[in-house]
Symmetry: D2
Subunit: 250 residues, 4 copies
C-alpha cells in the first residue's frame, strides 16, 4: 500500500546472446534488456527496472544492490555452475527477508531455485518448435489479471514435460499443453520466509518468447504480486525468549 | 491495477445491538457502522463503504447491490437460519464470479460460509473474557502488511478452540493462543471460483473488538487483498467445445 | 492399521445401461458391477464390495448402509437432480465423520460433490473419441502405487478441459493431456472433516474405461487410501467448554 | 500394499547423553535406543528398526545403509555442523527417491531439514519446563490414528514458538499451546520428490518425552505413513525426449 515504485532487477547470465548468432538476432542487447523494456512499457512509473549479468563483479548482485531490489528476475541456462555460492547465499537470504523472485524457463536448473525448493527441479524436454497452450487454472489470481482468453498460445516453443521435480506448489496458475503429448505446470508460486516466488516456464532463447505481449503481461503482473509486503517486524532467528512473569514466579 | 475505488458492503444481522443494552453500549448504531467507519478511516478514497442488514428487503443484498459490490463483509450470530436461501445462492454465485468475502467471528456458522466450504464449520467455545494472542504465522502476507509486532493481543475475548471443522485452508495467517489452554486458526484464506475468502476470528459482540485499531487494520488489508482481480474471461459453465479441425478431419 | 476388511459401496445411477444399447453392450449388468468386480479382483480379502443404485429405496444409501460403509464410489450423469436431498445430507455427514468418497467422471456434477466442494464444479467437454494421457505429477502418492510408466494412456475418451471450477485441490496426482488441445486436473484429492475425497476423471459410459486394468488399479489404490483412519474421538459440534480452574478462579 | 517389513533407521547425534549426567539418566543408552524400543514395541513385525549415530563411519549412513532404509528418523542438536555435507547430499537424494524422513525436535536446525525446505527453519524458544498441549487439527490423518482425546498433553517441555520459518506445510496435524503464551505448528508434513517428511516438535533431551506412550504412538504412525509408495518408475533427471512421430514428420 505504498506509492514508491517497485525496484526491479532483471538478471541474465548473458551468454547465448554473445555466442550464438541466432540468439543475438532475437535479443541483440540481451534477454535482460528485452525483459526490462517490456516491464518498463507495462509498469511505467509503478516500477524502476535495472539489469545485472553474470559477467559483472559479484554477478551484479552485491549486497548493496540486493538491498535496493524488491523483485529479482532470473534467467540462466548454460552457466548455472558459474554462479558463486556466496551470491546464491545472499539471494536466498534476500528472498527469506521478503524480496520477490521470478525464475524464468531454464532457470529451473539454477542454484538459487534448487536451493529454495530443496528438490532436483528436473523435467523432460524436447526442442521441436511445437505449439504450446498455457491454460489458466486459477482465473482469480492477480498474475493473470486482465487476460481475456482461457489460455495463452505460443506457436513454437521448446517443450518441458512432467514429472517436474518441485515440491507441491502453493498455487498452480498455468498448465501447459504441448502438441507432442506432454503437460507441464508452467506457472507456479511458492513462499519462502517472507518472500514470494513465481516460476514461469516460457522463454527459450531461440524463440522470440519475451517479445510476446502476453508473456510480458504475465511478468508485469508477477512483479506487482511478488513485491514485498506483510509484517514489518523481523521474523526470528533462533531466539531465546525470556520467561513471562507468571512462569518465572513458579 | 485499476484506480477505481473498491466497492465494499458490510453486512450485519443487527439483532444483538437492538435487543441487548450491553451490546448497544458498545455498538450504538450497529456493528456494521463501526466496521464501516474503521474501513473508511483506513482506506480513504481507495474504497467506498456501504452497509446492509438482515432487516432490509432481500436483507439488503439484491442482485443489483451484489453486482456493485467488490468485497462483502459478513457478521451474523443469532439469526443464521433467517437468511433466505435465495440470498445465500446469490452471494455464492457472486463469490464464484470474483467477489471477495470476509467472514467475521460467529459468521463461521452462517449458511454462506458453510455453503462455500462444504463442512460443518463448528468449533469449541467459551465466554470467560480471557486473553487472546493472535500470532502471525505468514509474515509475508498482504493481510498483515504494516504490523510491527509478532502478534496482536486482545485482553478480553470469547474463546474459540480447535478442532475447527473447515477444509485445510489455502493459507493460515494467524494462530490464536488463549489463556485457558486452547489454540485456533484465526485468520484463514480460501479460494472458491474466482473469489477470495478470508475468515477472521475476533469480533464478539460484548467486547469492543471492532474498535481495536489492529483489528481494523487487518480488515482494511483484507479488503484490499480480496478485491476482484485475475482473468477477465468468464470461466466455464458446463460447456460443449467444438472439435478442433484436426479432430474433425478424422 | 486394522486388519478388518474395508467395506466398500459402489453407487451408480444405473440409467444409461438400461436405456442405451451401446452402453449395455459395454456394461451389461451396470457400471457398478464392473467396478465392483475390478475392486474384488485387486483387493481380495482386504475389502468387501457391495453396490447400490438410484432405483433402490433411499437410493440404496440408508443410514444403516452408510454406517457400514468405509468408502463410497459415486457414478452419476443423467439424474443428478433425482438424488434426494436427504440422502445427500446423509452422505455429506458420513464423509465429515470419516467415510472416504471416490467421485468418478461425470459425478463432478453431482449434488454431493458440489455440496462438499462449495463451487459449481463445471468444465469444458467434447465427445470426439480422442486420445488421453494422464501424466503422474505426484509420483510418491499411494494412489499411484505400482505404476511403472510416467503416464496412463486411454486411446479413446470423452474430453474434459480446464477451467475446472473446483477449489484448489489438496493434492493433484494426474494431469491429463488431450489430443484436441486441452489439459485437465484428472486426479485430485480433498479433505472434508475427517473424510478423504478423490476425484478421478476417466469413465465415460460409451468407452470401456472401467474394464481398463490401469484404471481399476488407480481405483483400488484409492479405496485403500480413502479408508477411514485418524483420531477416534468425535470432533466437535459447536460445543461449550467449561472454564478451566485457573480461569474460574478470577 | 506390500507385506515386507518397513526398514527403519533411527539416527542420533548421541552427544548430550554422553556429556550430561541429567540426559544420561533419562536416556542411558541414547535417545536412539529409546526411540527404537518404542517403535519395536508398537510396530512389531511390521517394521525392522536399526540405529545409527554421528560417531560411526559416515555417521552410520553409508550409501548401502540408506539403500536399505525405508524411513529415517533424525535427532540432532549440538553438532549440526559436524554432519558431513556428503552425507547430507546422500540423505537428500534418498528422500527425493522415496525414503521417508521424520525430523525430531531440535532437528529443525539440521542441515538436512534446512536443505530440503530451503528456509532458515528458525523459531523462538524458552526452557522453563512449561506445560504443552498439542491440539489435533487434522483428525482424519493417519498420523493421529487411534487417538481418543482432542489433544496430547506434556506436563513439562521446552517451548518452541512461532514464527517458525518453514515453507507453508502440505499438512498441519498438531498445533501446540504453551502455558507461557506461545503457539507452534508442532506436526507438519512436506513432500519432496517421492519422499514424505514429517516434522514433530516434542523431544527435548532433559525431559523424558520419548518415554511418553502418546509420543511413541505418533512416531509409529508416522513411520507407517512415511514408508515409500507410489509409482515405481524412476522420475526424470533432466531428460531429452525423442520427438513423437507426428512431430518428426513435419
Amino acid at each position: 500500500m505504498t506509492d514508491s515504485p517497485i525496484r526491479v532487477t532483471v538478471w541474465n547470465e548473458f551468454i547465448h546472446e554473445q555466442n550464438q548468432a541466432a540468439v543475438a538476432a532475437i535479443y541483440p542487447d540481451g534477454i535482460h534488456q528485452t525483459l526490462a523494456r517490456g516491464l518498463r512499457d507495462l509498469l511505467g512509473s509503478a516500477a524502476v527496472i535495472q539489469t545485472a549479468t553474470l559477467q559483472e563483479p559479484e554477478h551484479g548482485l552485491s549486497a548493496e544492490r540486493l538491498e535496493r531490489t524488491d523483485v529479482l528476475l532470473w534467467w540462466g541456462h548454460a552457466a548455472h555452475d558459474r554462479v558463486g555460492d556466496q551470491v546464491v547465499d545472499r539471494v536466498q537470504q534476500a528472498v527469506l527477508a521478503g524480496m520477490g523472485l521470478l525464475v524464468l524457463h531454464s532457470g529451473h536448473g539454477s542454484k538459487i531455485f534448487r536451493r529454495l525448493l530443496g528438490t532436483g527441479c528436473m523435467l523432460r524436454w524436447r526442442e521441436a518448435g511445437e505449439r504450446e497452450r498455457l491454460w489458466i487454472v486459477d482465473p482469480g489470481h492477480p498474475i493473470v489479471d486482465g487476460f481475456h482468453e482461457e489460455y495463452l498460445e505460443l506457436p513454437q516453443t521448446e517443450m518441458y514435460g512432467e514429472f517436474f521435480d518441485i515440491p507441491p506448489p502453493e498455487e498452480v496458475i498455468f498448465i501447459s499443453w504441448f502438441a507432442g503429448g506432454e503437460v507441464f505446470r508452467s506457472g507456479c508460486t511458492f513462499r519462502r520466509g517472507k518472500g514470494k516466488l513465481f516460476y514461469f516456464r516460457p522463454g527459450h532463447e531461440t524463440f522470440p518468447i519475451y517479445h510476446d505481449a502476453q508473456v510480458q503481461r504475465v511478468l508485469a503482473n508477477a512483479v506487482m504480486w511478488a513485491a514485498p509486503c506483510g509484517a514489518s517486524y523481523r521474523p526470528a532467528a533462533r531466539q531465546v525468549v525470556d520467561p513471562p512473569e507468571r512462569l518465572t514466579e513458579r
